[in-house]
């Protein structure tokens, strides 16, 4: 028996999930139940619930992609409604910022090449426009994936020219450009992104530890076998359903990974058949791969981790939980927002990140919220919020502009390692210590935020320091912090507030979601 048979969804004792907020709470409880079972088995005492300010900053970074403004934080802290966390999550999920952030996030996963490859970067605005429309409408995710995989390739240019010669401003063609229109790259991306399987190692030889053969890799690639890129245009030769394995005299027919028989459709691209198989409700990989990726996005570590490496040597930390999420995802009609909502409302997601028991340090137990390094986009946008700079609009245009401050920043702050094992480089430290962005933010003449905080009449030193904390860290200072900062600003020299702002902007707390 092949190992993936074990992946086939097992019956789960959770109720049917129809994608309503009410059901999200039911799924949230299911999450907590499975996570707690593991805590009990491992004798781990989970961390307490996070305080309101921490939770509010956390969901802002996770759902809007940047920190909150001080007035938003104050309003949330003053709200006494018992369900204010539920409402805050809902409000963010329905915000334009959520659509933008999720679009950027998925584009980053789908077109990682855009950062380094200028040609791919030119396709980003149209790609993001296409993606954002669907994210904003909360289009069922299976439909989105189907559309992407089966997107008609009728000779339009890789830089998204339509057949009639106009620029197409809303098209996912960049996915094909990024993969160079090569069947093997398209197959590798499809399997990594939508099946959670790193099949590309089977490109040249059988997979070293999972049971994937070269035949299976090229069998999957064969669904893309007709895709060609000639003279800058992407086309598809119809009815091409097999590929030869390079440097061999063997050819393999298009074959699904579970060996189901493809039901070919007359005059339709084999990609249409592939897309149907990928998103089919009985596909053992798709739902799990997607919910695991969303879980990984929110916690910084997947239930299977790395999130795109399901194999028999890399098993899920909470298999029943993964099943429950996948089942709920299918039953909700592949509603990603529903899954995100349920995760955010779980007690598991709401835990503090402070370690109260050494065993909580294993992020895969989800006994404390894992501290995660911010993505470069989150960090840049949060800095912009702090400084009072307008945020870049949707579309990812900054990727093209060589030398744009955001692009430069993204390159410098490209996250090294896993989100939960985030590392600071010397260059990053120097950039935040001495660079222009923080430099201006901490110079009263150049920083609107700082000048407002320092010059507003009638505020006590306490008020000013609290304002800095709310602005940068979205929380009030502790007594100890207040004491230390008051000592520093003593004597009323206004430039001393620059130092406080500098110190907090440079702190590890600002650089992480926690």
């Amino acid at each position: 028996m092949r190992w993936f048979a074990a992946l086939v969804l097992t019956a789960v004792s959770t109720a049917a999930f129809a994608g309503q907020p009410r059901d999200a709470i039911a799924l949230a409880s299911a999450i907590d139940r499975f996570v707690s079972q593991r805590h009990a088995a491992d004798k781990v005492k989970p961390a307490p619930r996070s305080d309101d300010a921490t939770f509010f900053r956390r969901i802002h970074l996770a759902l809007a992609g940047h920190t909150a403004t001080p007035s938003e934080v104050r309003a949330f802290l003053e709200d006494t409604a018992p369900d204010k966390r539920v409402k805050a999550v809902e409000k963010l999920l329905n915000s334009a910022a959520y659509a933008t952030h999720m679009t950027t996030t998925w584009r980053g996963w789908l077109l990682p090449e855009a950062v380094a490859n200028a040609e791919v970067a030119t396709t980003v605005p149209a790609f993001e426009a296409w993606l954002r429309n669907r994210v904003q409408a909360n289009q069922p995710f299976d439909k989105l994936v189907q559309e992407l995989i089966a997107f008609p390739l009728d000779g339009r240019a890789t830089t998204m020219r339509t057949p009639t010669g106009e620029d197409d401003t809303t098209t996912p063609i960049g996915f094909y450009t990024a993969k160079e229109g090569k069947p093997e790259n398209l197959a590798a991306a499809t399997s990594r992104l939508f099946l959670g399987v790193q099949l590309e190692c089977a490109q040249c030889h059988n997979h070293p530890f999972a049971k994937w053969s070269r035949e299976q890799f090229w069998g999957l690639a064969a669904f893309y076998g007709g895709v060609t890129r000639q003279d800058g245009a992407l086309r598809e030769l119809p009815n091409r359903r097999e590929m030869s394995i390079p440097n061999t005299d063997r050819a393999v027919p298009a074959t699904f990974l579970d060996d189901k028989e493809p039901a070919w459709q007359f005059k339709k691209s084999p990609r249409v058949t592939l897309a149907e198989w990928v998103v089919a409700k009985d596909n053992p990989f798709f739902a799990k791969a997607v919910v695991n990726r969303l879980w990984g996005l929110l916690f910084g570590v997947g239930i299977v981790d790395p999130v795109d490496d399901f194999n028999e040597k890399n098993l899920p930390s909470h298999p029943e939980l993964l099943d429950a999420l996948a089942t709920a995802f299918i039953e909700s009609g592949f509603d990603t927002k529903f899954i995100v909502r349920a995760i955010c409302l779980s007690e598991t997601y709401q835990r503090a990140s402070t370690i109260t028991d050494p065993l909580q340090r294993d992020p895969r137990l989800f006994a404390a919220f894992p501290v995660q390094g911010l993505t470069p986009e989150q960090l840049f946008d949060s800095l912009s919020v702090v400084v009072g700079m307008p945020l870049e609009g949707p579309g990812g245009n900054y990727l093209q502009a060589n030398g744009s401050p955001k692009r430069q920043f993204l390159e410098t702050f490209n996250r090294m390692g896993k989100p939960t094992e985030t590392q600071t480089t010397i260059i990053q430290a120097l950039t935040l210590m001495n660079g222009g962005l923080v430099g201006e933010a901490t110079t009263a003449q150049a920083s609107r935020t700082l000048s407002a905080i320092v010059e507003l009449p009638g505020l006590s030193a306490n008020d000013r320091i609290e304002a800095i904390y709310l602005t940068v860290l979205n929380r009030k200072p502790t007594d100890a912090e207040l004491k230390r900062t008051l000592k520093h600003v003593e004597g009323g020299k206004t430039s001393r507030y620059d130092d406080v702002l500098w110190a907090i902007l440079n702190s590890i707390e600002f650089r992480t979601n926690h």
Binding site: E421, Q423, I427, T443
Partner: protein
């Protein structure tokens, strides 16, 4: 009070500047260090991104259809021949050992880059360190304020994770200069902008911030984040602390000076070549001289699927003067015996010339070069067949190559480091067979 205090002192800089010229002082120091048998060794990796056509450089096939238009030339080492576009290196061949038996079985840029730079293919959850981080950990010296691993002009797009410290942790992260600037032939339209490119960005304090204010800010930062760090121990906090401390050490004027190439004589700079790779090699020498154990310099542009022979000739025009001057310069300073130079890319290129007069990816049979300290130069080890398609003698795997480099550097390649998956992993796989013939 603060351990940062001393590092911001302007007085130190003035003192240093008024007492002795930095280069003179360092020159003497370096010469003394070079002759000291206990001096720890350093490694300079010349990384040829894209996969160099080694069949046109180190292992020519004259007379065969695969050979292409280049001629072979004699070198200073009797019997050893190079391609005609490497005349300056040919004169130094006595310090170089060509490993002609490279056979590596991975033809994808990303995976091959990972393989050559870590010694293994990606394996699930294990975060393998780049060879630079492994060497840095073994050969790191106390009292050196420069980071132990410096990467110059890397082109990381093929495999981001093949350039980091992996499970060795952030203190072995490379300091990257000219990040993504890809030293390519003819980049920048022939104008040499390397002085700007090779600077460490943001090394000076932001305008108007005094030294004492910078000190205050750092101690304020440490005090204010102490609560967060104590209650959330882990890599994020450790790495942040390490990076800030290293950044502060790097900002010390005498440390930062390492990156100021204007200190060097114009004539020497010309000899290295006034381009990013050439000046990068000069920077590598300055760093090694100051105790940095691992420096890598990337030369990009070797992915010659079309018009291979024009491209390789142009690349040699940059590579040959830069590398040969580097060896001569190290030798002049008594540093060549303690500095091992490794030249490699992620794979070689097909012996068969394609329709675009290019060569495609070819991991089966290609060459790498080791030179300088610990190397028995003046020879080729290993042999390919007449067509250049197969290795006939001394097939050399990636672990074999890296174990050879460890041998030249005096590192026990079987030593284990604890990995992120909770089991120890050797510097190089124990199945490796170092090419002992190439070791002095």
């Amino acid at each position: 009070m603060s351990r940062f205090d001393a590092h911001f002192s302007r007085r130190d800089a003035i003192k240093l500047a008024t007492t002795v010229s930095v280069s003179g002082w360092l020159g003497n120091l370096a010469r003394a260090a070079g002759t000291n048998p206990d001096r720890k060794r350093s490694c300079i990796l010349l990384w040829m991104s894209g996969g160099p056509a080694t069949i046109d450089l180190w292992d020519l096939k004259p007379g065969h259809a695969n050979g292409g238009p280049y001629k072979e030339i004699e070198t200073a080492a009797p019997g050893l021949k190079f391609g005609e576009h490497l005349p300056k290196l040919a004169a130094q061949a006595k310090n170089m050992a060509v490993l002609r038996g490279m056979s590596t079985k991975e033809g994808d840029h990303g995976r091959a880059t990972y393989l050559l730079r870590t010694g293994t293919l990606p394996q699930g959850a294990i975060d393998f360190p780049a060879v630079g981080a492994l060497v840095a950990k073994e050969l790191k010296r106390d009292g050196v304020d420069l980071p132990p691993f410096v990467s110059i002009a890397p082109q990381r797009a093929f495999a981001q994770n093949a350039f980091g410290p992996g499970f060795l942790g952030p203190q072995f992260s490379p300091l990257i200069v000219a990040d993504g600037q890809a030293a390519r032939v003819g980049a920048g339209g022939g104008v040499d902008t390397s002085d700007e490119q090779l600077k460490v960005q943001n090394l000076g304090r932001y305008g108007g911030v005094s030294g004492s204010q910078a000190d205050d800010r750092l101690s304020l930062m440490r005090d204010l984040e102490a609560g967060f760090v104590d209650s959330r121990p882990g890599l994020a906090a450790d790495s942040h602390k390490n990076a800030y401390e290293a950044a502060v050490r790097l900002m010390k004027p005498e440390t930062a000076k390492a990156f100021d190439l204007k200190d060097e004589k114009a004539e020497l700079r010309d000899r290295y070549g006034r381009n990013l790779f050439g000046q990068g090699c000069l920077l590598a020498r300055r760093l090694v001289e100051r105790g940095v154990p691992f420096v890598e310099v990337t030369l990009d542009g070797w992915d010659t699927h079309a018009q291979n022979f024009d491209a390789v000739k142009n690349l040699c025009g940059v590579l040959d003067p830069a590398w040969s001057t580097l060896m001569a310069d190290l030798k002049d300073r008594g540093l060549l015996d303690s500095t091992t130079i490794v030249w490699m890319g992620e794979f070689g290129r097909t012996p068969k010339i394609n329709a675009q007069k290019g060569r495609d990816h070819f991991p089966d049979a290609w060459s790498a070069v080791v030179a300088g300290g610990g190397v028995k130069g003046g020879q080729a080890v290993g042999k390919t067949n007449a067509a250049g398609t197969k290795v006939e003698d001394r097939p050399t795997s990636v672990p074999d190559l890296l174990a050879t480099v460890c041998g030249a550097l005096g590192i026990d390649y079987k030593k284990q480091n604890m990995s992120n998956v909770g089991r120890p992993i050797r510097i190089v796989d124990q199945a490796a067979q170092p090419v002992t013939e190439a070791l002095a």
